[in-house]
Assembly symmetry: C2
Homo-oligomer: 148 residues x 2
C-alpha cells in the first residue's frame, strides 16, 4: 500500500524513496559501492535474513538499480552490479555517510572515501553549480512548476 | 530490533539510516525544508495516519533532528523546526530529489529549488572539494581507518 502511494506522488523525493526508502535497500546499495557483489557478501556484511535479502535484491533488479551477471556456469551463479541508475545513487549514499560522520555518535569516522586514480581522500560537498556555493549556505525554497 | 542493530553498526551510513531510514521520516524532513512546520500541514501533505505521524515526529525530536516551538498559548500548540543537525540533512533530501528527477518516471520535475536571495534556480551537484570534480566522475573506494 505505502509503496504504491509513494510511487504515485508527484514529488521526486517520494518517488526516489519508493525505490530506496528502506534501510536495508540503501545498505545493499552502499555495499555495492564498497565493492561487494555477491549474495553471501551482502549477507555477511549486513547480517539480514536470506529471504529479506533475496526480496530486496529482486526489487532493486526490478527497479533497474542493479543488474545480474553470471560468474559461474555449473551450478549457475550470478553476482550483482550497479546500473547507471544505481551508480547515480552515489550522492545519496555519500550524503548519508557525511551526515552520519558528523552527527551520529560514531566518533572518528570509520571509513574515508579514496579516489582510486591517485589515492587522495575526497572531501564531498553538495554545491550549487550556478554559484559554486555549498547548498548548505543557501536559503532555498521549492518552486512548483506548473504544466503549460 | 532492526533500529538497535543499525545504531550499533560501525558505519556512518547505517547510523544515518537508523535515524532517517524510513520513507515517512525523510518525507517529513523534506516537508520542513519546503516550509511546513505544523502537524496538520504534515498530515495534509503526506496523508499518513495521525499515530504514525506522531511517532515519527517524536522520534525526530528525540534524535535532535527537530525541535518544537510554541506558537499559541491556549490551548498550547507547538510547531516543528529543523535543528542544525536537521538542516544538515539538506544534501540527503536534495540528492534524493535529483535522483528522482532524473531516474523515476515522473516526467518533467515538478519542483525546482530556488535561492531566496536572488531567485535563481540552483543546480545541485556533489563535488570533491579537493579536486572540484563531481563525485559521480570519480572511481571511489572506501578505506577503513584503523584505530591507533
Amino acid at each position: 500500500m505505502r509503496r504504491r502511494r509513494l510511487a504515485d506522488v508527484n514529488c521526486s523525493v517520494a518517488r526516489a524513496l519508493d525505490v530506496v526508502g528502506d534501510p536495508w535497500t540503501l545498505l545493499i546499495v552502499r555495499d555495492l559501492f564498497w565493492g561487494r557483489h555477491r549474495f553471501n557478501e551482502f549477507q555477511d556484511s549486513l547480517g539480514i535474513p536470506r529471504n529479506t535479502l533475496t526480496a530486496r535484491l529482486a526489487a532493486l533488479v526490478d527497479a533497474g538499480v542493479l543488474e545480474t551477471r553470471p560468474y559461474q556456469e555449473s551450478p549457475p551463479r550470478h553476482e550483482y552490479h550497479l546500473t547507471d541508475k544505481g551508480r547515480a545513487l552515489g550522492p545519496v549514499v555519500i550524503s548519508l555517510l557525511t551526515w552520519g560522520d558528523e552527527w551520529s555518535d560514531i566518533g572518528e569516522p570509520p571509513v574515508e572515501l579514496v579516489d582510486r586514480s591517485d589515492e587522495h581522500v575526497i572531501d564531498p560537498v553538495m554545491v550549487d553549480r550556478v554559484t559554486d556555493r555549498p547548498v548548505a549556505e543557501l536559503q532555498l525554497r521549492p518552486r512548483h512548476r506548473h504544466p503549460a
